[in-house]
């Protein structure tokens, strides 16, 4: 029972990732792609969590946080790039 539900949940997450992938490919604008990428990251986190439940192991729990950190930082960097054209400013001008 539980296993079935988990499998369904896992495939739904995969479906969500695939749909977001479509958005990444089609665009049409850069922010669209970034949004979709961010969403993939978030779904990946959920996927890993479900996966560790399926496998009954704690070994993957670190991955959740790491993927979260990476997704956040990359989204941040991409957003800055879209907005200002650089990633790290030398000196804030305000």
């Amino acid at each position: 029972m539980i296993q079935t539900i988990l499998t369904i949940a896992l495939s739904l997450f995969c479906l969500a990732i695939l749909l977001a992938l479509y958005r990444i490919i089609v665009g049409p604008s850069m922010p669209d792609r970034v949004v979709a990428l961010d969403m993939i990251g978030v779904n990946l986190i959920s996927g890993v969590a479900v996966f560790s439940v399926v496998l009954h192991t704690h070994a993957f729990l670190e991955v959740i946080l790491i993927v979260g950190i990476l997704a956040f930082i990359s989204t941040l960097a991409l957003a800055r790039f879209v907005e200002r054209g650089d990633i790290v400013e030398h000196k804030r001008n305000n």
Binding site: A59, E62, L65, I66, I69, L70, F72, I73, L76, A77, R80, E83, R84, D86, I87, V88, E89, H90, K91, R92, N94
Partner: protein
């Protein structure tokens, strides 16, 4: 054009705190579980990267007055020096030893000489990553 980053700055302070905690946790758990110097170092470095992203590089280098090139060198030095120590006790290079200690808060803790080595690795990774961010950002 004035860009107001209050939300980002506020949140990133909290996020950096979390990342630091997690990084140190990963670094220490490396002996028996996933983690260790390299991964811990990377996570710690990502905290620095986050700081660079949310603030500007000058503010950060004023706040943390460290030469990260020297930090990575120091890391390598620590790693190799700690591996060298056993040679003076007639053990092969990179031999390690560990023991269990009763520490006040953590209870029974395992401490191994390899942790020193890992610390060196972590420092190196932090230094290198931050350096790369620096060198890409500085000569615009």
């Amino acid at each position: 054009m004035k860009i107001n980053d209050v939300i980002l700055k506020t949140v990133s302070k909290a996020a950096v705190l979390i990342i630091f905690t997690f990084g140190i946790y990963l670094f220490l758990s490396g002996h028996n579980e996933p983690g260790g110097g390299f991964i811990g170092g990377l996570v710690l470095a990502s905290a620095f990267v986050l700081l660079f992203l949310s603030h500007d590089s000058e503010t950060i280098s004023d706040a943390i007055p460290l030469d990260f090139k020297k930090i990575s060198a120091l890391g390598v030095l620590i790693a190799f020096a700690s591996s060298t120590v056993p040679m003076f006790f007639g053990q092969p290079f990179m031999s390690q030893s560990f023991g269990y200690f009763d520490l006040p808060i953590f209870g029974k803790t395992e401490l191994a000489t390899v942790t020193v080595f890992e610390a060196g690795v972590a420092l190196t990774v932090i230094g290198v990553v931050v350096n790369i961010i620096f060198s890409i950002s500085e000569d615009e």
